[in-house]
């Protein structure tokens, strides 16, 4: 389990993290989102025990990163956005080297196990410099798993991967969640986060702008609804305007016209909308809440954070 407690980190006068707190439970994937420079990489490096916080603390399985960064490092597996491999080494030698650094008992067996797991068994004696970008990223993942860590820190793991490899990587990450790993996924890829993250933490200029369940975040703030009907869109807009509801045309589905509107109080607004449309002689087909994509939610959160920061 990762417990980030009020962590701050500065580099000279630059504040990279400013009183950040969040948790990642075992068997959970938390996506750390944010624009470039938001502090995602700094946060993952502090959790990994390779960078000390200026203030606050991080507990990994109850161990303080301040008190015992060495133990933290042996509990975390880190995958960086760049594979960062020693390209003159063969896959076998490379994984064995990291097995020894992490005090893995049977390095030869673990190396072969990981190569098999990631579909690289036939490349064990090939130099890493000859690997494709996707294969190199797989090696970086294998390196992070050599010691079978309970905590995984994935910093943009799918960067520059083709869609097929990225998809298989996502499945792999999800399979690790099923094995009760606590996984922190730092990413720009909102689609990836939406697909696999249980919870999302949005960082903006080193601060937590929003945190919550992925589903809640998408449904956050002003709920939006779409009503579809048969009839004239202009007539429907007039009818809603008279009822005091601001609506805009939405893309038509199944040949029906559609309007989109915000409803902070759906219990009051939605019946008013239905009544206005029916009174206007229109036949209502459906009225449903519009699911925001995580991308929409993310941009709204970042914009809000930007405005509140001036």
């Amino acid at each position: 389990m990762i417990d980030v407690r009020d962590v701050s980190r500065s580099f000279g006068r630059t504040v990279a993290l400013d009183h950040v707190s969040f948790r990642v439970e075992p068997g959970e994937i938390v996506a750390l989102l944010g624009p470039n420079g938001a502090g995602k990489t700094t946060a993952s490096r502090i959790i990994a025990g390779i960078l000390a916080p200026s203030d606050g603390d991080v507990l990994v399985d109850g161990i303080s990163v301040r008190a015992d960064p060495g133990s933290i490092r042996s509990r975390c597996g880190m995958v960086t956005d760049q594979p960062s491999l020693y390209e003159r080494m063969t896959l076998r030698a490379y994984l064995a080297f990291f097995c020894h650094l992490y005090d893995v008992a049977d390095a030869a067996r673990r190396t072969e196990e990981l190569a098999k797991l990631l579909g690289l068994s036939d490349r064990l004696d090939v130099r890493l410099g000859a690997f494709s970008r996707g294969m190199k990223q797989k090696v970086a993942i294998a390196r992070g798993l050599v010691h079978d860590p309970p905590v995984l820190l994935l910093d943009e793991p799918a960067t520059a991967l083709d869609p097929e490899t990225a998809r298989s990587l996502r499945s792999f990450i999800v399979s690790l969640r099923a094995r009760h790993r606590a996984i922190l996924l730092c990413t720009h890829d909102l689609d990836e986060a939406q697909r696999i993250a249980d919870r999302v933490v949005v960082l903006y200029r080193g601060r937590v702008a929003r945190a919550g369940l992925t589903g809640d975040l998408r449904a956050d703030a002003h709920p939006r609804f779409v009503v579809s009907f048969t009839g004239d869109v202009a007539t429907a807009l007039d009818a809603l305007a008279r009822a005091g509801v601001n609506a805009e045309p939405a893309s038509a589905e199944n040949g029906y016209a559609a309007l989109r509107f915000d409803a902070d109080e759906p219990g009051t607004t939605n019946p008013a909308v239905l009544r206005a449309l029916l009174d206007g002689g229109l036949r209502v087909i459906t009225l449903a809440r519009e699911e925001r994509s995580l991308e929409d939610a993310y941009f709204a959160i970042v914009q809000e954070a930007g405005e509140s920061n001036g």
């Binding site: 580099f11 133990s71 960062s84 491999l85 003159r88 030698a93």
Partner: protein
């Protein structure tokens, strides 16, 4: 220190012997004594004992110059390629990383220095006579020369570590290491002249003391510069 040894072994096996360029560059420095001996300095009548000592000193220290370039490239490449981050993320102490890398570079270069001195001794025995070589270069002097080469490598290595922490690219690191090599070569040449004129061992003692002073200064600067947080911040 087991992990430092592991890092050192990786450096030697994969970065030095895995890089043909590094092997050729180091080999070139190792063959320099042949040039010194064949240049026939001090002929006719052969060189005096001091000249033999100076030639032996240069045969030992000039191959050590290749170590400066090696150490510079290993650290700046680690930074440039991002390979330092997985290493720092492993449960090893900073000192193991630094010692492992230094040993990985210093070990093979010391071997080259010893081979170069040995080659000089063999060639010199043929050219100037075995008895003269034994008189000019008794075992304790040979040992002192190797210790001096070791001190030089540690000193240069420490300073190169400081450079590696500050510069961002391998190219910049190599350029500064090149300047260090040039400066060192000039110092060794001047030392040779000084030793020949002074005609006793004070120049060697002076060089040894200079290395020790440089080591102390380098350690203090390195302590300030090589703080994990500062280095990570620059990656």
């Amino acid at each position: 220190m087991g992990k430092a040894a592991l890092i050192a072994w990786r450096e030697i096996r994969w970065e030095i012997f895995g890089d043909r360029g590094a092997v050729i560059r180091t080999g070139f420095f190792a063959l320099l004594p042949i040039l010194f001996v064949m240049s026939g300095r001090g002929q006719p009548g052969g060189p005096n004992d001091i000249s033999i000592l100076v030639l032996a000193l240069q045969s030992t220290l000039i191959p050590a110059l290749s170590g400066v370039a090696l150490i510079a490239s290993t650290f700046t490449q680690e930074k440039e390629n991002g390979t330092l981050v997985p290493l720092l993320a492993a449960p090893i102490r900073d000192i193991d990383i630094v010692v492992g890398k230094l040993l990985g570079m210093v070990g093979p270069v010391m071997l080259i220095c010893a081979s170069s001195l040995g080659l000089f001794y063999v060639l010199g025995s043929f050219l100037f006579g075995g008895a003269r070589l034994r008189d000019a270069l008794p075992p304790q002097i040979l040992f002192a020369l190797l210790v001096l080469a070791f001190l030089y490598l540690i000193t240069a290595g420490s300073w190169v570590l400081i450079i590696a922490a500050v510069v961002r690219t391998t190219r910049a690191g190599q350029q500064i290491a090149g300047l260090m090599i040039g400066l060192s070569a000039a110092i060794f040449a001047v030392l040779g002249i000084a030793a020949a004129r002074i005609a006793d061992g004070w120049a060697l003692v002076g060089l040894g003391l200079a290395f020790v002073v440089a080591d102390i200064v380098a350690l203090e600067v390195a302590r300030r510069v090589w703080q994990r947080g500062e280095v990570i911040g620059k990656l």
